[in-house]
Symmetry: D5
Subunit: 121 residues, 10 copies
Amino acid sequence: MGAQFRETLETFENQFPDRDYTIEIVCPEFTSVCPMTGQPDFGVLTFTYTPARKCVELKSLKLYLQQFRNEGIYYENVTNRILDDFVAVIEPRRVQLVARYSPRGGISTNVTVEHQAAANQ
Amino acid sequence: MGAQFRETLETFENQFPDRDYTIEIVCPEFTSVCPMTGQPDFGVLTFTYTPARKCVELKSLKLYLQQFRNEGIYYENVTNRILDDFVAVIEPRRVQLVARYSPRGGISTNVTVEHQAAANQ
Amino acid sequence: MGAQFRETLETFENQFPDRDYTIEIVCPEFTSVCPMTGQPDFGVLTFTYTPARKCVELKSLKLYLQQFRNEGIYYENVTNRILDDFVAVIEPRRVQLVARYSPRGGISTNVTVEHQAAANQ
Amino acid sequence: MGAQFRETLETFENQFPDRDYTIEIVCPEFTSVCPMTGQPDFGVLTFTYTPARKCVELKSLKLYLQQFRNEGIYYENVTNRILDDFVAVIEPRRVQLVARYSPRGGISTNVTVEHQAAANQ
Amino acid sequence: MGAQFRETLETFENQFPDRDYTIEIVCPEFTSVCPMTGQPDFGVLTFTYTPARKCVELKSLKLYLQQFRNEGIYYENVTNRILDDFVAVIEPRRVQLVARYSPRGGISTNVTVEHQAAANQ
Amino acid sequence: MGAQFRETLETFENQFPDRDYTIEIVCPEFTSVCPMTGQPDFGVLTFTYTPARKCVELKSLKLYLQQFRNEGIYYENVTNRILDDFVAVIEPRRVQLVARYSPRGGISTNVTVEHQAAANQ
Amino acid sequence: MGAQFRETLETFENQFPDRDYTIEIVCPEFTSVCPMTGQPDFGVLTFTYTPARKCVELKSLKLYLQQFRNEGIYYENVTNRILDDFVAVIEPRRVQLVARYSPRGGISTNVTVEHQAAANQ
Amino acid sequence: MGAQFRETLETFENQFPDRDYTIEIVCPEFTSVCPMTGQPDFGVLTFTYTPARKCVELKSLKLYLQQFRNEGIYYENVTNRILDDFVAVIEPRRVQLVARYSPRGGISTNVTVEHQAAANQ
Amino acid sequence: MGAQFRETLETFENQFPDRDYTIEIVCPEFTSVCPMTGQPDFGVLTFTYTPARKCVELKSLKLYLQQFRNEGIYYENVTNRILDDFVAVIEPRRVQLVARYSPRGGISTNVTVEHQAAANQ
Amino acid sequence: MGAQFRETLETFENQFPDRDYTIEIVCPEFTSVCPMTGQPDFGVLTFTYTPARKCVELKSLKLYLQQFRNEGIYYENVTNRILDDFVAVIEPRRVQLVARYSPRGGISTNVTVEHQAAANQ
């Protein structure tokens, strides 16, 4: 299933591959569905990555994330799955994804996942 | 007594045990009772943990914390006791609990406790 | 039931009855219980009143509000009932009570009720 | 179509019909779809109403609003339509609905609609 | 000159002409050029209007405002001219335009202009 | 007792008696003592007045307020008494005093008192 | 003395004399000298005016205000004097000047003065 | 003199001496007197300490700090002296005290002092 | 093309070359054009650098940045190109450039690039 | 010239020379004159230092800084010169000076300089 979603992600060539620099992308309009209750969940996703040869194309990232709109999936799982897709397609030197979910039952949850390329560069 | 309370805590299996990631849970509606004066205390609890094989189930955490609603217990003790229960049931790689209590007599108190698994991983 | 609760409220004599002035009291630590789900509710109560012959004694107001700690009652009803008790005991020239409740299911609710003495003064 | 949606809205009896008071309900998780581009829109809806004989039941309001999740409809139209549904079912003495939509193309839009009962009371 | 610019503005039919309601549009990315110094100016424009038979189409408003990007014009004049164009094309019942310009020489300027239709409705 | 305190207040002549204008003075460092518990209270006093023939001299106002440092007096009484002293010495056309006291027992209190000269001017 | 200062103020013709609109100018870098202590004072001046036939030229306003940099003058007097100069040169339909001075001895002062043309228009 | 003051400080036994944890105590209502001018000073004291065998009792800390209310002492000296008293009575593993004083003459001062037990543990 | 733009940048001699210090320059009014859509982009640029023998002249930096006003160029590329120009002309010991771009399609992007001189000094 | 200015700075003896502690002094009312344009500049200076044998006397620091009121000097130079004067007179173990200047031409500048005593202590 994840593999299908990640086909939406597109990239463009990093014009400055010799420089180790950082791109932060904030997506405050992420929404999915709780698989338990069927109720919608809302969150803010923040990607912080250092590109190797490829950068993520922003419009394709938006369309990728919209695919979760009616998808039933838990906080912890959706965060890890999005990171896996991002790593598989963009192949960054390193990437961090922070997901801040809206409160439910008076409790709010944030999940932070990271990936670093095995051979850095 | 603590042992009884902690039976309320439930877990689900961590689907990404190979990744060292962080889950932050903010509970702004914690209340207990001061054993000295009988007056209610209010606080915000923030758990930040790295799961090993288990994640805490959020609704059970809420019910666990509600058990302190009419419990007479000091700031320092309740914070340490909740950490002990969390460690006993969730067995995380590492966990920090920050408790920010409402001011009393013009003075406010925050307590920060941490635990790290002996053999990390 | 309300009548029993209101017996906790105490007053002291307004030393400046000839002046039409305003006292605002903010109580950020109000909590009751949802009669439907049994879950605790949290709110911030703000009283704004003009005393006639009596002022509310603050410690008695705190104890009065603590009586709702384990009381099952709806937002709209508890706000109106507290106003009725305040009017019955303090007999102010006018009073407004704003209750701001914590979000539930992603939705937050505020209730505003007012009372004005028939013959102002 | 609107008539179908509004059947989800439920009410309970206003216990204090003799008092002219105000209930404010903030719903920060509203989302619908732009009929032009097919892209999701996000907004914060704030209802402020004075009940006559009926109050809106909060959970039913949440479910009512979730019906717009995959509905293609313009800002101005969805705001007016929700007000019409609210008036038809709750029959309040007066109601205001403010909808604050997330920015699109660097421009953000808020729509404010109001209704007052012909014979107030 | 103004007449040329205003041809970019497009409208759509107001579906709720019987209701007197308010649409607020915030445009934080307005920029023109100071005719004196040739330096760019930056501002935030906020339109607040009540539609009669027509609403402004948002994308056309964005394109209309972009025409000022390389236009040399003073604060007071550009604000009044944009209001005139808005009134001529949208024919609202009433409209207010607030323009907040970035500080120059340690001094910041805001201009507020309003228009009301002669025969309201 | 109040008469003694007010002798500290000094004035200077209003140079613009024909203009009806407003002077706001914010004193965030007011402290007195609770007559019940002997504990210190803290507050922010804001005077807003329209001078007639006299303006209050700021340093004398500071010294006047410092006299309450070890004075045991209730919130409502100290606010009214300070207003009375201000009116007696400054004789303003109108004056408002807002006193915002620090929270005690989780409850905070603000008192607002006003005076208007009988014959305005 | 005031007359000399005001000669620095320059105007340009209001291009929209038929419209009653508002110009707000915020000057956060005003400084003068306390005539008592010789210490510098700092303030934020906010002009809000409706032009008749003339608008104030911003650079000349900046130079006008800089003349007070080493001028010994009290808060109340400098505020009134600047308003008088503004009215004499700009001849607005109406104008308000709010001056917010930095705290001295823990006390901060704001002065608000207004002028309205005798025959409005 | 310091020795006399510190006798007010009381402790209770740390129930979790094996855990290295942190207690932060914020006291926003500290006031003393400037020995130069006789004017009151105001500050916010923040203690951050790791207890060894003893924790500070909060009410006794409040009473201890109130002893400085009419004490003439400089910023730097009072901060160091309070730290010395805290270390002498509580004997923490480590402690930091940050004192933030209100502005005087447009200048504000913060003093940060720290102590670490010679043999940690 | 970049070489042409950078000729606008001017420098002045660093008077304190023996001290390793930091200059931060915040430019909140940067605007360029998206090469894909032709729509204007807006951003805040923050330079943080340690000068070697030369400092950047601020007015020339402003004029340099204005050259991008009608330039079609992607976020990642413009940020890297500005850093290259800055390094080529100013030859700092080290420099960081953070570019925070306004949201597009609900998504905002920040790019951070850094350069350190090969032989530091 | 700098030598003359620094004679204004006075010190008092550090009573706690054995403790390595930090004093932060914030001066939000610094103003000098741009040597290029003759226009006044405004800034906030923050000193953070660890005293050795001497502490700076606050009133003398205020008078020292006021000497720059009509001095024509560039941002980078004035910041370094003030640090040099501070080091020469106070001889601290270490000191940092951060100067945040008000925006000019839409661009704001902060300069951070540091000094550490050769032989620490």
